[in-house]
């Protein structure tokens, strides 16, 4: 009886001590710090990851690692990069919540999405 109770207490303590895994998200810094940055890689005619979920105030940095030029252009004209050659980057800070789909104007079947909470 005592052994069973002890085992139950140890089990509960163990389970509550292991933090639950949360989906990967951009870590928000304390107020006053530089906005957090999330990287999106452009390679092989894909945006990776294709969907990013971020808190408001986060900066997304797109880097073209492909052999051909691409752009990052919002469907709603909220943001639009110049043509990015290999190695070039484009940054945009999302200040307001919402969903922001985007695509490449050179290769329109390349699409991605930024979800701002």
């Amino acid at each position: 009886m005592i052994l069973r109770r002890s085992l139950a207490i140890v089990t509960v303590l163990f389970l509550t001590s292991v933090p639950a895994r949360e989906p990967a998200r951009a870590s928000a810094n304390a107020p006053g710090d530089q906005p957090a940055k999330v990287a999106v890689t452009i390679d092989n005619f894909n945006y990776g990851p294709s969907t990013v979920t971020i808190p408001a105030g986060t900066t997304v940095v797109w880097t073209n690692q492909d052999d051909v030029p691409h752009t990052v252009t919002s469907d709603d004209k909220v943001f639009a990069s110049p043509v990015l050659d290999t190695g070039e980057k484009f940054e945009y800070t999302f200040k307001k919540p919402g969903t922001f789909p985007y695509y490449c104007t050179v290769h329109p079947k390349m699409t991605g999405k930024v979800v701002v909470k």
Binding site: N44, F45, D67, V68, P69, P82, V83, D85, T86, T105, V106, H107, K109, M110
Partner: protein, 150 residues
């Protein structure tokens, strides 16, 4: 989504290059095919078809090249010439030169339609076809139709 927006159709950044480029591709390949057919059959009709296809290819190739340069300037904002873009431009230049040279030679040579062409002409024609196929393949990569393996 509007599929037939006039602004998109007529003012596209690609400057209609992806439309016009198919003319010299098809005309050059057809020309070489008809020349080989003429040599094999000994008939004059394929030789005439081959000649006029070649002349049309030589006339249309510079227009396709010019729209390609405009597409580079307008849609790609003058991106650095490297990788597939540089290869595509280089191969296209070879096609334009070969096409023009073959057409000029044929026109200057004159002669009876259907009379045998020198072997070097067929070799150059084959080289032009190889160059146009390579150019087209690289164009497919640049436009995202062909995804190269990494």
């Amino acid at each position: 989504m509007r599929y037939f927006d006039p602004k998109t159709i007529f003012l596209a950044g690609h400057a209609q290059h992806i439309v016009l480029v198919h003319f010299p591709i098809a005309l050059l390949i057809s020309s070489v095919f008809f020349d080989l057919l003429a040599r094999w059959t000994g008939r004059v009709e394929p030789a005439i078809a081959g000649a006029y296809n070649l002349y049309a290819a030589a006339v249309s190739a510079p227009f396709a090249a010019i729209t390609g340069l405009l597409a580079w300037r307008w849609q790609l904002e003058g991106a650095r010439l490297r990788g597939p873009l540089l290869l595509h431009l280089s191969a296209a230049a070879v096609v334009v030169v070969l096409c023009g040279s073959l057409a000029w030679f044929r026109w200057w040579r004159g002669g009876t339609p259907g009379s045998p062409l020198p072997p070097a002409f067929y070799v150059a024609g084959f080289a032009a076809v190889v160059a146009v196929v390579a150019t087209a393949h690289l164009g497919g990569i640049l436009s995202g139709v062909v995804i190269p393996s990494h």
